[in-house]
Symmetry: C2
Subunit: 190 residues, 2 copies
């Protein structure tokens, strides 16, 4: 997605040589029009998949997931990064965040996915695929089916891509970063 690559190029910041910060349009301040265009793009790609639910992780996944769900006319469920005391029948999964260097527990109320659901997972970033693996386990535990993975920004040089594609999932990333060479972002030629 050209517009997104341009935004990353102009507004993205690289921290410590390997963390890409896109706080000015996605992870802290959000550009709603860009999110709407992303939602349209994901919906266009996955429209023939019979998606019944969009699944994401709070907080930064919510905006692109919501816009995608709006265009696909299905609900979105966001995994919570802790087990709220008001959850009645939680299904949880531990995931490790390399960025934060700590373990997080993702939880969902079990009733929001069942064996009739065809799930599209949407997230802001894909690096090592830890959040995806958590979501994959939760989907499996609910006997639902994961039918697609939509990522806003993929770090194609990390392990997540291989894991997802290797398992046969339809992975669609709006921007694929090949490398951070000398603090400069290189996109995969598409």
């Amino acid at each position: 997605m050209k517009l997104l690559e341009q935004m990353i190029f102009e507004k993205g910041e690289i921290l410590n040589g390997n963390i890409l910060k896109v706080d000015s349009f996605m992870n802290h301040q959000i550009d709603p029009e860009l999110m709407e265009k992303m939602g349209e793009e994901f919906a266009k790609h996955f429209k023939e998949k019979g998606i019944t639910k969009v699944l994401t992780v709070e907080s930064s996944g919510i905006a692109p997931a919501l816009m995608t769900a709006l265009k696909l006319q299905v609900p979105v469920v966001f995994l919570k990064k802790a087990k709220p005391s008001t959850m009645q029948d939680p299904v949880c999964c531990d995931v490790f965040s390399y960025t934060k260097n700590k373990k997080t527990t993702l939880c969902m109320e079990k009733k929001y996915l069942n064996e009739t659901d065809r799930v599209l997972f949407i997230d802001d970033f894909l690096a090592n695929g830890e959040a995806f693996k958590g979501a994959e386990n939760i989907v499996k535990e609910c006997h639902a089916e994961m039918v697609g993975v939509g990522i806003v920004i993929e770090k194609a040089f990390q392990k997540g891509h291989e894991y997802i594609v290797g398992k046969g999932y339809d992975l669609y990333s709006l921007a694929e970063i090949q490398s951070f060479e000398n603090g400069k972002i290189e996109f995969k030629k598409g």
Copy 2:
């Protein structure tokens, strides 16, 4: 907003006599079409206010805030419930959550609000107004101006309403709950 009242009536759950759970369409699973209608409603109400930014709190505020910002064609900024290590110039504020019975720190990167900004605060719930007070302080510290407050569900019998209206802010709530009588939700007659 009739549609919202109907959703609360049909799908809301009351926990411990005073906590309203709307997890099936707002706080865990999200109904994107309902969010879009809410965004339209807020945008219609506040359209003459010269809003330049929508401000909310992660995670449940993001969906209604994003839809409102999309309709008003301005960015949305969400306050984070912890100070991320990658924040460069944070402005923070401690708030007390009565639901969770604990203190939370709300933080924002200072550069996202400045003295030219006219801010619309959007949130999912208003009870004692703690989150609003935090946002109010952060807006003040950035020398921006708070010009409106949009709430999805207001518990009109708690202290937040009085605080916000008492300070002269334009408060617009889509559903105003008068009481939970014997586990039944009573809306304010509008």
